[in-house]
Amino acid sequence: MLRLSNLLNAKVHDEGSHGVGRIGDLLARQAQGQPPEVTGLLILRSGRVWFCETTQVTWPENGTTGRIVVNGEPAPFERRPGELLLAHDLLDRQVIDLTRVTTARVNDIFLAREPDGWRVDAVDLATAALSRRLLPAALRPEGSEQHTLSWQDFEILASDTSGGWVYPEHSRLSRLHPADIARIADLLPSPQVLELIESLPDRVAADALEEMDEHLKGGIFADLSAERAARILDLMAPNAAADVLADLPTPVAQRILQDLPSGEAADIHALLTYAKNTAGGIMTTSYVIAPKDLPVREAAEFLRPQLVKPDWVYYVYVVDDMTTRDLVGVFTLRDLLLADQKLTIEDIMSTGLRTARPDSPAEKAAQTMSEYNLMALPVTDEAGRLLGIVAVDDALSVILPTQLRRRVPRVFS
């Protein structure tokens, strides 16, 4: 194992033992699912940057001490995508620590020797690595604190690499829990949050954005292209999408709305007419309904298409008519599974539902849900027609102040 800081500024010789310059940086090539392989050296000589392939380099026998020899002529250096400059792009930069779900600063880089050359093995996050680079040996504090992060446990932020790094199609970030992605976003500078969202597949981006702080979320949507913003909004719960649009400057929101599929746009349109802190403002239009005369044995087949979109389903609401949607009762999916196959939905549903009006306060809806132990509360108009449901997670965020959830406190503003 070799530290990058030991190589930087080391003297490079030619075959005739003449000094040809010092090591300015190491070039490593991005490989799918593999740690980057060191492919070349940047040599600084009299104020100019030269490049030579690792195949031209003879490393000292014991790895670290001894003479680094370059065979042949160095060439002028040019940047190519997919190539990382280790000192410039990674050392002293912030990376995403995937294991602890936070950000970390790279204090040194470990290279591992392989039969055919060097590979990036891990980054050193320990403060001791800093004092190694800063202080002469005699002045370094004692203690051998270890804190390394191996290659598969961190992600590089591509904007730090001036185009050198390209996010792989299925980045390791996209496999994190959406709440974890949102937590990392809280810790990153705004331009890098945008870059992070842009690198994620639509589905993951939509889930992560739903978890984010309003201000941050609004900023991201204002910066995304209208088509991408519409694709992501389409995948979000309609109430979450409506909240985002209501917060955006009108011209931006208009552009995004134009790109939304008409069904989704109509739902959002309906939701936008309610103020944020009302039951209508926090309700969602993804719910599942069944007509009351439906036979139980046909119910599963009938409901299946409706079960795709919502994040979770617990209740099925029973209506008189599938188009007017007059709410008459409710049953749970468990009721359905346990029900006698000879009955109809009307026989197994419960009546006397608790409901809310769209303009009643959100707090009151949340209280009702807590009092009657409901997982969702239907919202109806004066005529008793179903408009939407308040889901338990949205009710929870009304009751629990944001401070109690994930939040980075402000120091400077």
Binding site: D92, G219, Q254, P409, V411
Partner: protein, 447 residues
């Protein structure tokens, strides 16, 4: 759905908040403004804080001494410094908005660990001195109210530590902010003192210079207290933390210019006020009580108390912010854990620097004799002035770096003015060393 309908729906959502919703919506809009004049209101924050912080204990002491010793002679310099300050603050705010990163982070990422260590050492010395001077200010304010520093400073320091560590500082900060309103007595007092406005105006536009060590010392101190290094770092972090986007940057920039203008207008009035009162009566500012007498034309024998309240509020504000911001910048630069939400055991370096600065400030605030207060405050500002070019060079280098700023780099005019500021302050510092230090070690310089 057509976009017209969509826009109508959005407008309806905004226009029809429920009875409960209205207050909530207003709070939301102020906290996270997206449109209209509210963005401007919310963006006012950092600029006003920065403008206010210029008039902390060190600021008041410096402007008062300058006015008392040289009358209106240095007013022309305030004009130049205002231009420089606006320039520098705008660059820092722009860097914060474009990169979303703090200055110490950018220095480390672009120049490496050695340079950031060097920059942070300069910042620690400058900020450390300023932090100490705030506790001296608390002591002086309490002294004017008849409370001995030994009884007054330690409890206040403990209170500050506790408020910040508990995270409740933000809630009480407004009390100290209100106290600083006492300093609006300066412009009023200045008017009542019937200054020679013609003289003041002439000195504002016509430069004059004296090759004297005391004069140059006062000059550098004024630069140091007006263009404080800490303020630039703070402003950048604040803009980054607020996640100000470039599309909203025009409001932030306007705010920076406003804050600079009004902050320095107040400074100019302090000089005019002390110039019209203390200078005309040949009173040098050696004690805090001397400085307070400048407010006599407005509040008579209560001058001492009005001055003490303002000084106390301003010092308490800065005494909390400086140790916190310093500790934040340093730990951020070295990638150590930091933040007011961490426990002492989780982020030992962060809390050690924060606590250390408060303890040193308290000790100095208690043991410093009353007669040395003004002198110490001035020396701290001079140190700030001398170290300022170090940070300015980093700031100018970074703001011209295409990898950092992209299309938002400085234009040529901006650069010329920025480098002129660095050269002028650097030259003054060298001149000051030549005229102050060399004679003190027995070398004669003839200028």
């Amino acid at each position: 759905m057509s976009s017209v309908e969509g826009a109508a729906a959005i407008a309806a959502a905004r226009a029809r908040p429920g009875p409960l919703g209205r207050a909530r919506r207003l709070i939301d809009a102020v906290r996270h403004p997206r449109t209209g004049p509210l963005i401007y209101l919310a963006a006012l924050g950092p600029g006003l804080i920065a403008a206010n912080a210029g008039n902390d204990a060190g600021g008041i002491a410096t402007y008062s001494s300058v006015g008392a010793s040289y009358g209106y002679n240095l007013l022309w310099m305030i004009v130049l410094i205002t231009v420089s300050l606006a320039l520098v603050q705008e660059m820092c705010a722009r860097m914060g908005a474009v990169t979303g990163k703090g200055l110490s982070t950018l220095i480390r990422e672009r120049f490496g660990i050695r340079w950031v260590a060097f920059a942070m050492l300069a910042l620690l010395i400058a900020n450390g001195g300023t932090a100490v001077s705030e506790f001296v200010g608390i002591g002086a304010a309490l002294g004017l109210l008849g409370i001995p520093t030994l009884l007054g400073v330690p409890p206040m320091a403990a209170l500050i530590w506790w408020l910040v560590a508990r995270g409740s500082y933000r809630r009480v900060e407004v009390i100290f902010l209100l106290m600083t309103l006492a300093f609006f007595a300066y412009p009023l007092s200045a008017i009542l003192a019937h200054p020679n406005w013609g003289d003041a105006a002439r000195h504002t536009v016509i430069p004059s210079f004296q090759f004297q060590s005391a004069y140059i010392f006062a000059f550098v101190a004024t630069v140091g207290t007006t263009v404080t290094p800490y303020m630039q770092v703070y402003l950048q972090s604040s803009v980054a933390e607020k996640r100000v986007a470039m599309r909203d940057y025009k409001f932030t920039r306007l705010d920076v210019y406003n804050g600079t203008f009004f902050g320095n207008l107040v400074s100019a009035f302090i000089i005019i006020c002390t110039g019209a009162t203390l200078y005309t009566h040949h009173i040098q500012v050696t004690l805090a009580a001397d400085a307070a007498r400048a407010l006599a034309p407005l509040v008579g024998s209560y001058a001492k108390y009005v001055f003490a309240v303002g000084l106390f509020g301003a010092s308490m504000l800065a005494a909390a912010v400086l140790p916190l911001a310093t500790s934040y910048s340093l730990t951020e630069a070295f990638g150590l854990r930091h933040g007011v939400n961490t426990r002492v055991r989780e982020a030992p370096a962060f809390w050690a620097i924060f606590t250390g600065l408060i303890v040193i400030g308290t000790v100095v605030g208690v043991v410093l004799p009353t007669t040395a207060v003004v002198q110490l405050l001035l020396v701290v500002q001079v140190v700030n002035g001398v170290l300022l070019p170090v940070l300015l060079v980093f700031i100018i280098k970074l703001i011209n770096d295409p990898e950092v700023m992209g299309e938002y780099r400085n234009g040529p005019a901006h650069n010329i003015l920025a480098w002129a500021t660095v050269v002028a302050i650097g030259a003054l510092s060298i001149l000051m060393v030549l005229t102050t230090v060399l004679p003190a070690v027995g070398l004669n310089v003839n200028l």
